[in-house]
Symmetry: C2
Subunit: 298 residues, 2 copies
Amino acid sequence: MLAFDARHGSTKAALFDNSGQMLGFSHTSTPVCDVTPAESLMLHIEDLTTQFARDFPKVTPTAAGLIAPGIVDDHAGIAILSASLRWANVPYKRLTEDRLRLPSTFSNTARAIGEAEFRLGAARPYKNVVVVRFGTRITASLFIDGKAHDGGGFAGGIGHSIVDAQGEKCLCGSHGCLDTVASGGAIVRRYANLTGDAVTGAEDVLERARNGDTAAEGVWNDALEALALAISQVAAVIAPEAIVIAGGVARAGDELFVPLRRRLDDLLSFHRRPTVLPAILGPDSTLLGAALRARSVV
Amino acid sequence: MLAFDARHGSTKAALFDNSGQMLGFSHTSTPVCDVTPAESLMLHIEDLTTQFARDFPKVTPTAAGLIAPGIVDDHAGIAILSASLRWANVPYKRLTEDRLRLPSTFSNTARAIGEAEFRLGAARPYKNVVVVRFGTRITASLFIDGKAHDGGGFAGGIGHSIVDAQGEKCLCGSHGCLDTVASGGAIVRRYANLTGDAVTGAEDVLERARNGDTAAEGVWNDALEALALAISQVAAVIAPEAIVIAGGVARAGDELFVPLRRRLDDLLSFHRRPTVLPAILGPDSTLLGAALRARSVV
């Protein structure tokens, strides 16, 4: 199984055997090309595949799974929109199949992470579960009655669920999306705006909050409040058994989970209270999800 | 098919033939009993069944569908909680089967209306659709990839999705639930609080708004804003193709749907934009949903 996780900046690739063992791995720059971005990505994954064939001459991959950020219609295999990678309506499933001459699947980052956590990770015990990716942006994947629900590619957009209609304008054009307050990107930006200090990541803001920086505490608390509110809305409407949180900011561990659970508990009343758990598969779960999806089409 | 729609105040009952034709109908008071409420409801539906047997001696019902408000676990057939009817953890499916000696189903009002609209009404063209009941309270039923999703009985609680965490305390114990601003009950209460005028229903407030009463306009607009916000959150996370709105307040027609669609349109950006449609089956769709559910177990 070939697995590719193409992001703005870098592309991870891996070769898995049928048992799910990762045999080879590479981490390269995603090609930058404003004119033919899809064609250059396809050339890149072809090169990566050739390299795996050289390194593992005895392994013949039987399928490929490509993952990219943005709105992806999994069934059609089309990248509907990716702001960061400047794609719109690219049929990546078909392009990958044509280029690699292998059965291929195409999905987005949130659903790949979800797939991995749902099949092999923290979401495994549940049939109704939402896997939230809490990183630079906030995205999610939904599993309803044991099946991934992609809503034509649009489901799971919790980062663009509005938590405050009077809030800050979001990059997407709406106002007060969860992403404008709670995402890793927002935490960094809001802290820099308050203090004039440039920080490199949400973990720096959290570190400063831990050391008594009240601006950092305020920004972190606002993020937690907003995330708890958005999760409470999901609990009211979908009533999942659990919420699994993956992504860079989720690595904060108890500093995230303890106050988040407390806030969520305060917001809910008779609702089904979801168990809130950290993801367990780590940053390469996207590749694992890609491989799992690829295996399903062999 | 026997269908029962038991509410606080009154119980509707109907006898349907297998083609879905309503043969008999009755509208009686729901028995009030603080000591044995479940037992008295069972006696009541037994009486209603006896009456149908007298009126239609040639019709032998083959199954029964009971509907009640509140949190109902459809699969287990248990009324988890009904504040208005003072039930908690009553196994109504089994009680109905024992009492009527017929295969029986048990569900709640929102899901019965949803079932009817999904099988026979405005939601029929869609596989992913949310049917909202906009009446004295706001509840919903979810259809995901062609199947009802009940979340262990708790799904669809959009009326208790928080639209303003700093908002008014809700009867449920949370603060700022959609129900505290947008439900028919809230519209009446908020108008009365502002003006001191007692009104009998949300339609009276709407009538006054139409005649230039600014307090009524304010209350109605707040309700629309809050409902549009809650629907936008559902659109972001679940991405349904359509939202069908049933219930008493939905009978306001274009006065509801035109501004609601405009507000929703303003809130959303790249999201999948759901078609917002009125329900078409009318106030007895609960009974129809009960009969459809009963038919499924024959």
